[in-house]
């Protein structure tokens, strides 16, 4: 019984760090190769993310993002092929590359671009 309690405590302690790890921000999701990795194709304004020469997708700027609006931006991130079947952009929602909350944070990041 004592062993079982110790085991439960150890398991809880082991689970703690994972639960405490902060969720990646929109900017991190945008840049991380195991997440969105949007930076592989898109450039962002200076200071808003890593500077690259990537141009497989268009450069992103805040004014254009806000013209599109959050709903349209979200729809593009979830499944860009619905609006543009020929696009090479991955369907982040449809293919579950990012979950709903992560897509929201990426949209927050895009909406706040300078």
């Amino acid at each position: 019984m004592r062993n079982l309690a110790a085991l439960v405590l150890a398991a809880a302690a082991a689970a703690l760090p994972a639960a405490a790890a902060p969720a990646p921000t929109g900017a991190e999701l945008f840049a991380r190769s195991d997440k969105g990795f949007c930076i592989a194709c898109h450039q962002v304004p200076k200071g808003a993310g890593p500077a690259t020469r990537s141009d497989l997708g268009p450069a992103l700027e805040g004014r254009r993002m806000r013209e599109l609006g959050r709903a349209a931006l979200r729809a593009i991130v979830v499944d860009p092929m619905r609006a543009n079947p020929g696009t090479v952009m991955p369907p982040y929602g449809r293919h579950r590359i990012l979950d709903d909350a992560e897509i929201d944070r990426v949209v927050d990041y895009l909406d706040a671009l300078p």
Binding site: S33, D34, F37, I39, A40, C41, T52, R53, S54, D55, L56, M81, G86, V88, P90, P91, H95, R96, I97
Partner: protein, 278 residues
């Protein structure tokens, strides 16, 4: 009188059908070439043979600075190539001209086995005939080194892959693979190397589909990386489980991709920068 005429007509129809079937691959190549030339005006297929270096002056300078990077690989490849088998023969004895000026004809369709035979398969076939241990297709230290050496014997020779009528299905499978979206990221090979050719992904210039088969293996981190090795890396980036090196899928893809480079000169063992850590 009617019967012989009918027979002659049937024979003519048969030959026309065969010609039409053989013409299809060249139509595929023309389509890709026209698309690339529209996207990249001012560049010729010979420029495409430089791969990503065609769009990156810095990479071209690095390639020059690292011109000797292939030497240790080629030395090891030559050692394997010339090593005497137990029966006194060697790999060199299995190929015409001791292997000189032959790489441009590979991959080739084997009419009896009805499959695409890559240079690696031909090497292993030779070893098998002479009862020697086979080389692991994906091993850069053995198969990679010996193919690097063998392809270097064809440097400057033009790629001349043939697609006979019996090879249509293999060629078509390779073509479909190249244009099909795969994996979690939903990319096709063509997304980057036709549609996006010359642009940059993850800061690296994307090589055009035409020309990709001219400069393999590339030398990265002192190792020979085969065309199929590079394709497997791409598949991983696409979020797709890569087919094994030497699989029918990758052999057919290599067949299609090499055919696209027909007429371009082989320049094997191009240096490439080490892969950045993910």
């Amino acid at each position: 009188m009617r019967c012989p005429s009918l027979a002659r007509l049937a024979a003519i129809a048969c030959s026309l059908a065969a010609v039409a079937a053989i013409a299809a691959p060249s139509a595929d190549r023309d389509q890709v070439r026209e698309r690339l030339q529209a996207l990249l005006p001012g560049m010729s297929p010979a420029d495409f043979a430089l791969g990503s270096a065609a769009f990156d002056e810095g990479l071209r300078a690095q390639i020059e600075q690292n011109a000797g990077a292939a030497s240790p690989v080629l030395e090891e490849g030559a050692r394997i190539w010339k090593r005497k088998f137990r029966d006194g023969r060697s790999l060199a004895s299995c190929f015409p001209n001791g292997g000189r000026r032959i790489a441009g004809a590979y991959p080739q369709f084997h009419p009896r086995l009805k499959l695409v035979m890559t240079l690696e398969m031909a090497i292993n076939q030779c070893l098998k005939i002479h009862r020697e241990a086979l080389l692991e297709t994906a091993d850069p230290k053995t198969m990679g080194a010996v193919t690097a050496y063998l392809r270097s014997l064809s440097d400057g020779r033009r790629i001349a892959v043939r697609v006979p009528a019996g090879a249509q299905a293999s060629f078509e499978q390779g073509r479909r693979f190249y244009f099909s979206r795969l994996g979690q990221r939903n990319f096709a090979c063509a997304s980057c190397h036709v549609q996006g050719a010359g642009k940059r992904y993850a800061d690296a210039a994307l090589s055009p589909a035409i020309g990709q088969a001219t400069h393999w293996p590339v030398i990265r981190d002192g190792m020979a990386v085969s065309l199929q090795g590079q394709i497997r890396e791409c598949l991983e980036r696409m979020g797709a489980a890569p087919f094994p090196a030497g699989s029918e899928e990758l052999n057919n893809l290599e067949y299609f991709l090499t055919y696209l480079s027909n007429g371009l000169a082989i320049k094997a063992n191009a240096w490439r920068a080490p892969r950045a850590a993910p």
